[in-house]
Symmetry: C2
Subunit: 373 residues, 2 copies
């Protein structure tokens, strides 16, 4: 597609388009790196947020030990883009994916997770076929009831199986609890994280009894890192969303905002007003195909009193829902929308329009977009 | 990404992946073509569903007059893929998009819609700059309250403005009502379509009074074509979703199913079971990044008693919610999921895995995926 030249002003961008303020991103990267350093925990940011080796390398330069990926396809893109240490945080099942994962382990440090003995056998076979060693974390269910083993003794048994499987190396635990990342309210989220941490202690005891040293205990996200410290057993954090900070994370911050006050919204979807034919509303050119809905409606930035509602694949309706506030935008006006959920919104776009001081720095590909396999 | 060879069985596909049964698609194409022919209405299928010139050309071969697109970027892909007659069903605003639209009009028949006099002036200027003529339909609001003019006299005034603008040609009306496509129940939807049709009569009278002949009255979708016949003034239908038939359309069919019984589900997302560590559920490798949520949860095909729930960007949870039904799938088993909303689900994927008789025919690109500009 046609791309604007560096130096182009935001107001001249064709829309809808993902706009990233690289200065705000860089501040977010450095703040999180400093927080992890002070906490004595390694930072392994989740690349499922940005899907771009450019951002991943900036995170590594700031001190991250590597990245997390959810899919082998994402890991392939990160490895090709110069990231050398990758944890695939999902169970990898299936002949094609296992062969690709093992192939990657020939060129970069690869770890993954497991919650099943049969899956461990398949993984070991793939590693041996490729002549590589793959590090494996036992996936522990801290209460999310998604993947992972809930019983510490069964988890330790699986750890032994991994340690005894040629081609695999037992590296520790994955202790990530997804559904508490957005628990509303600071104290409620702390209580949920404390409960998860208590479960983690059960796993750590079982592995200690089994004499399995856990070099890595990987967990926490942007929503919980403050409550999942080294003292609770975590050696590394998987936070991803801090990079751009979406509306969903900020809204669930609770009373005082906690560390969320330190991160900035660095990403918006820029849309244009394409219809003012309605008596009270106006319509912008961004709908389901430009912004995800799983994190709730986007927020209208810089237009007090106006709210956004989805109105189809390519339409959004702006309504004035307050007594005061800004005047109705005019036809052709540009509007910044803060997405509810960054990860899935970014996944809809091919490119980031990266800006600094209101002008285009460059168009960066969302390189691992759509890499669901 | 790695792609399987033609002839590969579905069970050997890497997942998650969009699977299309080309025989069912072809039957859907021919059935809709026959219905439109019998109704004496031209068929202009909406390419926002499939985003692929391969499917578009099959629709044209079966008798369609051309396609609809929502975005200029989609139209560019269709034109490059051999489609020669395109209606862009959205208001096109902004310097870059207008120049691209006018550029397209040099190589294919291009029409678009308008609901604003200023926008018409911009469009005329772009057409004159490119030395082309662009056909324009006045966008009429039949009750959706999204884009379009609600007042027939104002609409006819805009029609005159278009007719008097050099570079533009007044071609008629766009009379599409989006939100009644999914009105639940056959009779309720008929009543909603009847109300929309009554509004259309008001627009037709106003244009007749203004002595503006409407060569084209374009509207209806998969949900309403049966109620928006030639007798109500429609000259062409914009139906798109009939091609693959998603769950959302089928579920809103009402008591007897009406014409929806004639169309088949031709598209699924194939997923793999990646975790059976949970006591009662199992987890598949498809979540928000493989299936859209705006049309509701996908349906599990061929596993009676099991339902799907989203469990994150890359996870879905299958639960057994009936007394009887199928046994729990095993680790590595493949599961077909019928998406809630086809258009937005397809938009997440780079490729269709096209099958016939359970084996791969070819991997076809979702060529206009992400073309939101």
């Amino acid at each position: 597609m046609l791309q604007p030249l560096p130096g182009t002003e935001i107001a001249d961008f064709d829309t809808p388009v993902l706009v990233v303020d690289i200065d705000a991103v860089q501040r977010n990267i450095e703040k999180m790196a400093a927080i992890a350093r002070q906490a004595g925990v390694a930072l392994r940011p989740h690349a499922k947020t940005h899907k771009s080796p450019i951002f991943a390398r900036r995170q590594v330069v700031a001190g991250a030990v590597g990245v997390c990926c959810q899919k082998v396809g994402e890991a392939e893109v990160m490895a090709a883009g110069g990231v050398t240490d990758i944890l695939v945080t999902n169970e990898i099942i299936g002949r094609v994916k296992l062969a690709r994962l093992a192939g990657l382990a020939r060129i970069v440090q690869i770890r993954t997770v497991a919650d099943d003995a049969e899956a461990v056998a398949w993984l070991g076979k793939a590693a041996r076929s490729a002549g590589v060693t793959i590090g494996v974390l036992v996936d522990c269910d801290l209460g999310h009831a998604r993947t992972g083993l809930a019983d510490p003794r069964a988890a330790a048994e699986l750890g032994k199986t991994i340690a005894l499987t040629d081609g695999l190396r037992f590296d520790g635990l994955q202790a990530y609890h997804g559904s508490i990342q957005h628990t509303e309210g600071w104290q409620a989220r702390k209580a949920a994280a404390d409960a998860a941490n208590a479960r983690l202690q059960g796993f750590r005891s079982a592995f200690a009894e089994a004499r399995l040293a856990c070099a890595i205990v990987s967990g926490a996200g942007t929503g919980t890192f403050a409550f999942q410290p080294a003292a609770a057993g975590y050696t590394e954090w998987q936070c991803g969303s801090y990079l751009f900070m979406d509306k969903e994370y900020r809204d669930a911050k609770g009373e005082d905002g906690g560390p969320y006050r330190v991160f900035e919204h660095a990403l918006t979807v820029l849309a244009s007003v394409v219809s003012v034919a309605g008596a009270e509303h106006c319509v912008v050119d961004a709908g389901y195909k430009s912004m995800s809905v799983d994190g709730g409606d986007p927020e209208v930035q810089g237009l007090p009193g106006w709210t956004f509602g989805f109105a189809g694949d390519e339409h959004g309706r702006l309504r004035h829902t307050a007594k005061d506030g800004a005047a109705r935008p005019k036809l052709g006006d540009k509007v910044h929308l803060v997405p509810g959920h960054g990860d899935t919104t970014i996944n809809l776009h091919d490119d980031y329009y990266v800006v600094s001081g209101g002008r285009l720095v460059g168009v960066w590909p969302v390189a691992a977009r759509g890499r669901v396999r």
